[in-house]
Symmetry: C2
Subunit: 336 residues, 2 copies
Amino acid sequence: MEKIRWGILSTGRIAGRLADTLRSLEGAELLAVGSRSLEAAEAFGEEYAIPRRYGSYEELAADPDVDVIYVASPHSHHYAHTLLCLEHSKHVLCEKSFAHNALEARRMAEKAREKGLFLMEAMWTRFLPHMVRLRELLAQKVIGEVRVIQVSMGFRAQVGPEHRLLNPELAGGALLDVGVYPLSFTSMLWGKPERLDSQAYLGPTGVDEQAVLLLGYRDGRMAALVSSLHTPTNMAAYLYGTEGYVEIPNPWYRAKRLVLHKDGQAKTLECPYEGHGDQFQAIETMNCIRAGKLESEVMPLAETIAIMEVMDAFRAQWGLRYPGELVEGQRTAGEG
Amino acid sequence: MEKIRWGILSTGRIAGRLADTLRSLEGAELLAVGSRSLEAAEAFGEEYAIPRRYGSYEELAADPDVDVIYVASPHSHHYAHTLLCLEHSKHVLCEKSFAHNALEARRMAEKAREKGLFLMEAMWTRFLPHMVRLRELLAQKVIGEVRVIQVSMGFRAQVGPEHRLLNPELAGGALLDVGVYPLSFTSMLWGKPERLDSQAYLGPTGVDEQAVLLLGYRDGRMAALVSSLHTPTNMAAYLYGTEGYVEIPNPWYRAKRLVLHKDGQAKTLECPYEGHGDQFQAIETMNCIRAGKLESEVMPLAETIAIMEVMDAFRAQWGLRYPGELVEGQRTAGEG
């Protein structure tokens, strides 16, 4: 099997995690890394044994031997960096949140289709064994009809106002950083909601430091999601059905078991895997590229766009706009 | 110690539970029971060894030897039955939900004050050891500042449309039957919310069969409560604070332990008690009566009224009115 040659754009913590995974992945070759500074690229390349190291994202994107680029920069830069890679005819796996807003996401998807390239949001948790098992269980109506989804995602961010997490210029706040996980989870199971209600706390820097998100669906199905940078939460997910419920224990987004509660009994279903868990999205990316697919059926672009639309709608409720987000009619460097 | 002589109004399941408790309670004498039929009163009296059995609520209320009456009829009748007992100079412990709406609750409280009688909503769970312990822990800021409260209360009601739970004439629906528990719990900790958002599913009979309730408080504190007759839930409560979180495990409303999650550790705090747990509210009732108090500091009437106001506001959001509820300006038999 010919190896898929990867480039990594950015050298942050999350970039290091996938770099680590790619090194151990059959069929993958970690060829190049690009950073805003050559020094950082050299250090990262040294740590993860990456032969080619570039002091600019442009050079990385221009490397003719790179097949696919993992865009791991802050989400405020995903739009520009993904377009840069696509313009240089690279397939792209782009970190979540995919963009500032749905408009950017649509432009990214259009560009990928126009160029005939693979593009996917790196919602890695969706590809894990427990999520595959969960989708099977629900399809088999093991707990009847799911009526309520309850998920929390939170931690206490002890950072100053200039930190990425709280900086509106970098699209900070809980929504795009942690809220996207339960939102994408609910979307995976139920698709796009018909009604949205919410409460948010906007902190001193103007971003949502905490929110509760309510999603309404037909037939009275509803989801209540907690997203917080103020407090740790139990990090569990619950799917309440007419015939019982499924608990995904802490940490639900990368759990190795499900607990099926039915008829007064609790049954643990083991869903083991090795490693960090982001290997599954890398494998999916490579399988799609080898098969000539432009998107993944598990994390399709239309759904990524729909999730961004939901986040846009919540932000509209809160009056929260990011200074850097693309607005309709605007031309940007990235669009050439 | 002279015994407090109890009467029980109604012979339903919940009446049987407190009857059972009162029999074993020092300082209590279960003297009388009243039902709409003498037959039911006799059967109930036989089962719980109650000497006086009345075929009408009026006779029970008129018994000069009864000190306090436990009103255990459906909540659609609490208003009339409580006023009946107060008019006959009986102290009253009235089941939750306290009334159809805040207007009725206010009238009940006014009547009790006017007559100089004790009156309390039977929110028994509030008096249990784990709730006492919880209040202590939070006062000591053991988990810092609580930012989010997440509670679910649900079961699958497999009943027909004529059943009390679904019958609007009897103030059916999830809100007054199960939603009141997490609402009262949140009220106990944070008082009256400043903002309410919700989603509800109104079923074929017109009552809320399921809802998610969002309560907003100052400083971005928020509570997300699930109330359902469609599905069992995990029946756990979580209090997420800046320094950790407290889990009250299933069933949270009568749990015998708390789990304190802090610094990556989970510490179980045992809060044991014997029996069903409703003895604590009976003891509180008798202590207050002996001390000449007209209300309990743990479950004061102003708070019961405020909780009813919150439920009124949620119902207004859903367009749900009960045919039998008192409206401003209306005169009823109970008010004579």
